[in-house]
Amino acid sequence: MGGMVATSEQKVGNASVLSPTGRVDVETTPPLQERLLPLLGTSGAVVVIDFSGVTYISSSGLRALMLGAKEAKAKGGKLAVCALNETVAEIFRISRFNQVVPVYPDLRGALTALDPAGVGV
């Protein structure tokens, strides 16, 4: 099916980086959420979602991010997003989601802030 989001995952230092591509909508959010929440289930986990390949996020995707942010809070971990395109940034602004998860301009900025040792800072 064309709607599936392909999400790659890599480890950079102590951080897990998830990089979904395409739409993050009602159809494609469940598989993304199934990868995100277990990563944050470990105490003190650091997760960055790289949005550079994401065309848009709907409210379903925002709900998954909210659950992730709650899980990170509960387990003493960190969740951040980076590289939002114009549309995704507008959606974050309208929904005031930059109060829910920290937003960074690019992956390096996010990793430097969340896991400085991992990127050699």
Binding site: M1, G2, G3, R23, D25, V26, E27, T55, Y56, I57, S58, S59, S60, L62, R63, M66, L67, A69, K70, A72, K73, N85, E86, T87, E90, I91, I94, S95, R96, Q99, V100, V101
Partner: protein, 145 residues
């Protein structure tokens, strides 16, 4: 252009793609097209969930047109009366610990287009979303009185 879709979550992507092709072909720029796509995503999801209450055996219709300098998407369904614009609430402030999960879809739908209108037309819900091709309606031309 008229599209008839089944009232299932899996048709949301199909609706968005069709709107996207039509809007780009009608001269709407990439950013406004993407925003209109999200608004349509939320509107169709809303019909599936609320007007049809999850019944996947129903159909909804999308009518795509150019009205003046706007790309217009009308979404019609025969479900329970439901005015999505009346349900829009302001986004809550605060971090994850202070917020409920959900409640953002209709806010995004209204805020991502230049105009949104709802009417109950006989036994149909009719929602009209518009995105202006050249400028936002509130903006004045330079030098205008």
């Amino acid at each position: 252009m008229i599209l008839t879709l089944a009232s299932s979550p899996s048709t949301v992507g199909q609706a968005v793609e069709a709107v996207r092709r039509f809007a780009l072909g009608s001269g709407l720029d990439e950013a406004k097209t993407a925003a209109l796509g999200v608004a349509v995503d939320e509107a169709v999801t809303n019909v599936v969930r609320h007007a049809y209450r999850g019944d996947a055996g129903r159909v909804l219709t999308l009518a795509l047109s150019v009205a003046g300098d706007a790309v217009q998407v009308e979404i019609l369904d025969h479900g329970h009366p439901f005015d999505p614009l009346a349900e829009v609430t302001a986004p809550p402030d605060g971090g994850a610990e202070d917020r409920e999960v959900g409640g953002l879809g209709l806010l995004l739908m209204r805020e991502l287009v230049d105009e949104a209108r709802y009417i109950r037309d006989g036994d149909r819900n009719k929602l009209m979303l518009r995105a202006f091709v050249r400028h936002s309606p509130a903006r004045r031309e330079p030098g205008a009185a």
